[in-house]
């Protein structure tokens, strides 16, 4: 899943840092992702994993790092039974 998340970030996050080598806990906003770009990331993640982030998960912190994104996607997939 991490590789897929990195692909999404590569296409939509407009990071200054190299996504391939970015630590999973690294702060994506500090690495150059704008608040506006985070929306592109959210929509691309929903498409990539065929999920929809529920309202309670829609907060800036969820999109703060690869690890937090992975945890959220995993949780949604678990709830969806997939």
């Amino acid at each position: 899943m991490t590789d897929e998340i990195r692909e999404v970030l590569k296409a939509h996050a407009h990071l200054r840092a190299n996504v391939e080598t970015l630590p999973e806990e690294a702060d994506l906003f500090a690495a150059g992702m704008s608040s506006h770009a985070s929306i592109g990331v959210m929509l691309a993640l929903e498409k990539q994993f065929d999920i929809e982030f529920p309202d309670h998960m829609l907060k800036r912190g969820i999109f703060e790092s690869i690890a937090s994104i992975e945890a959220a996607v995993t949780e949604i997939q678990r709830q969806n039974g997939s």
Binding site: R16, S38, I39, K59, R60, I62
Partner: protein, 577 residues
């Protein structure tokens, strides 16, 4: 300091996407001068502030109500909408740029419930205001959520609507806000709110997000005016079909580039010339107007958190800088000997401050008896641009404007003046007081490593990335004590000498930093010994505030900042005495 003698200005001159001026773009024809004045109107208990722009102050039978976005794009799009208003005024229209209730300079607190309905009601009030001024033909131009309001209510209120990038599906918009926002901690919520998110300082309460989530323009628009223009990216087919089914004339102009005013940081934003031109051309020219100058109401009184305040649109300095003055309504409540507190522009944002912080701080201080002024430099907000538009952080003329503001206030009888700036404007205040001492400076997150000519980035994280080699070098040599040794020997960098100058000046200085802010890190690394010295000398004070962010967008922490401002103003006044 009144709004009665405003200098006219030519429409839309200044930096644009094309890097040219209106006059050049429109073939060198001479444009009539246009006038803009702040105007309070609407309910006496909850007055709204709008900016009326007209050709040479004349009235018009054609009014254009301009509805801004809600949220961060309000600041990014401000200059674009000002340029649009000036262009329209030059073509004979009377343009009114509205601040919805609890946004911008209008009355109302953004933490109150029922904001969605209040914003919509503001549109109705503003349309009625233009009608009352003799506008028999009304066009509403809305942007983003403003465009949504224009489409929802334009059929009842106007003869024409321009919708630029409307929010078509509220659910998606609400989801985007949530995803970009910080959640307000439960213990920081007012008792009448179930929850709230904060996006760049703008509060979206749970009931606002719920109302937005219900919105669907492809269903909810029940009437359209005779003419409608959709401009920007292509509108969804469902919306086109729905609006077409309601009758009237619907036109679409797909024009790219709107993101330069709607999605870019305010410090980078530029006027999307093609969109502005398309809107102005579609609205066209109004017939010649005559009659008395457009009357305006520059002053209003209202209640803010239980206290009665008066706010006045003000002009000062020979440049006729524009600002809003806040003070207790009752003159007897003004603090004897208290400072006049001046809030200086942050980033490229208007005098309303980051996420409206300057409005909230100024009103809170006024409620405690201070006179406050939030004011625009040339090229910012509502001030004349004189070739400086749109204003950018660290523009060199800001130091001269700061000095001019101090001198203008002083000549108007304000003997005690304190300056409040954030980041670049804190930097400007710290430079200006070396030449013109004041009662105090409260510098929020100043970056004292910055020197004239250095690059300017919109985001501090980008500055931090650029400065990484420099920071690492400074940390390395700090660890081995080089900077302290050099300081002992009298070799001090520019910032160290600046600190010395501030400590030696008669102006008490308080540097307030978000915990871990780059500006503080620099001082503690590169000029640690100098910092300790000037703090001991008591001329410069450092305050570190946990939890706040560089831009002070965490709106729920503002009460703590207000407390800090009050304590600091009091301390600086006592130091003076």
């Amino acid at each position: 300091m009144t709004a009665s003698d405003r200098t006219p200005r030519s429409p839309g001159a200044g930096r644009s996407a094309a890097g040219s001026t209106t006059e050049e773009r429109e073939g060198g024809t001479s444009d009539p001068v246009v006038w803009t004045r702040g105007h309070w109107f609407g309910p006496s208990g909850r007055p709204l502030l709008g900016w009326l722009t007209s050709a040479e102050g004349r009235p018009s039978t054609s009014g254009v109500l301009i509805l801004p976005p809600v949220g961060y794009s309000y600041w990014s799009s401000h200059w674009t909408l000002r340029v649009l208003a000036e262009r329209l005024a030059a073509r004979g229209h009377l343009a009114l740029r509205l601040d919805y209730e609890s946004t911008g300079d209008s009355a109302g607190d953004q933490w109150e419930p029922g904001r969605f309905g209040a914003w919509r009601q503001s549109v109705t009030t503003a349309a009625a205001e233009l009608r009352a001024r003799g506008c028999s033909h009304l066009t509403i131009v809305g942007v983003q959520l403003g465009a949504t309001f224009a489409l929802l209510d334009g059929g009842e209120l106007a003869e024409a609507v321009v919708a630029w990038a409307p929010v078509v599906t509220g659910r998606r918009f609400a989801r985007e806000i949530r995803a970009r926002s910080l959640e307000v901690p439960g213990d920081a919520l007012p008792p009448d709110l179930d929850g709230a998110m904060v996006l760049a300082g703008t509060v979206f309460a749970a009931d606002t997000l719920a109302a937005l989530s219900q919105l669907d323009l492809s269903r909810d628009v029940t009437a359209t005016p005779a003419r409608v223009l959709l401009v920007g990216e292509a509108a969804p087919p469902e919306l086109i079909d729905h609006l077409t089914s309601l009758g009237g004339s619907l036109e679409q102009r797909e024009i790219a580039g709107g993101e330069t005013a709607l999605a870019w940081a305010s410090e980078d934003a530029i006027v999307p010339e093609a969109i502005v031109k398309a809107i102005a051309d579609w609205i066209g020219t109004s017939g010649p107007s005559s009659g008395e100058a457009v009357p305006t109401r520059p002053e209003a009184a209202f209640t803010w958190h239980g206290e009665r305040l008066r706010e006045q649109v003000a002009e000062l300095t020979s440049h006729q800088l524009v600002g809003i003055r806040s003070e207790p309504e009752d003159e007897r409540a003004v603090r004897a000997g208290g400072q006049t507190v001046v809030f200086l522009n942050t980033g490229s944002e208007t005098h309303t401050g980051p996420g409206r912080a300057w409005v909230e701080y100024a009103r809170a201080l006024a409620a405690c008896g201070y006179r406050c002024l939030r004011v625009d430099y040339r090229g910012w907000g509502e001030s004349p641009d004189e070739g400086h538009a749109p204003g950018r952080p660290y523009d060199p003329h800001c130091e001269e404007d700061t000095l001019a503001i101090i001198r203008s206030l002083r000549s108007a009888g304000h003997e005690q003046i304190s300056l409040v700036g954030l980041c670049a404007s804190a930097w400007m205040a710290l430079r200006a007081v070396l030449r013109e001492p004041v009662t105090g400076v409260i510098a929020l997150n100043p970056q004292m490593y910055w020197r004239m000519g250095d690059p300017v980035e919109a985001l501090l994280q980008d500055t931090r990335a650029r400065r990484t080699p420099e920071r690492e070098r400074q940390e390395r040599w700090e660890r081995v004590g080089l900077w302290t040794a050099l300081d002992h020997l009298g070799h001090r960098p520019w910032a160290g000498r600046w600190l010395d100058d501030l400590a030696a000046s008669p102006t008490p200085v308080t540097l307030v930093f978000a915990a871990g802010d780059d500006g503080l890190e620099f001082l503690q690394t590169r000029v640690r010994r100098r910092l300790q010295r000037v703090q001991r000398a008591a001329g410069v004070e450092i305050v570190e505030v946990p939890g706040i962010d560089h831009s002070m967008h965490r709106a729920w922490l503002r009460p703590a900042i207000i407390e800090l401002l009050l304590r600091t103003l009091d301390r600086q006044a006592r130091a003076r005495d």
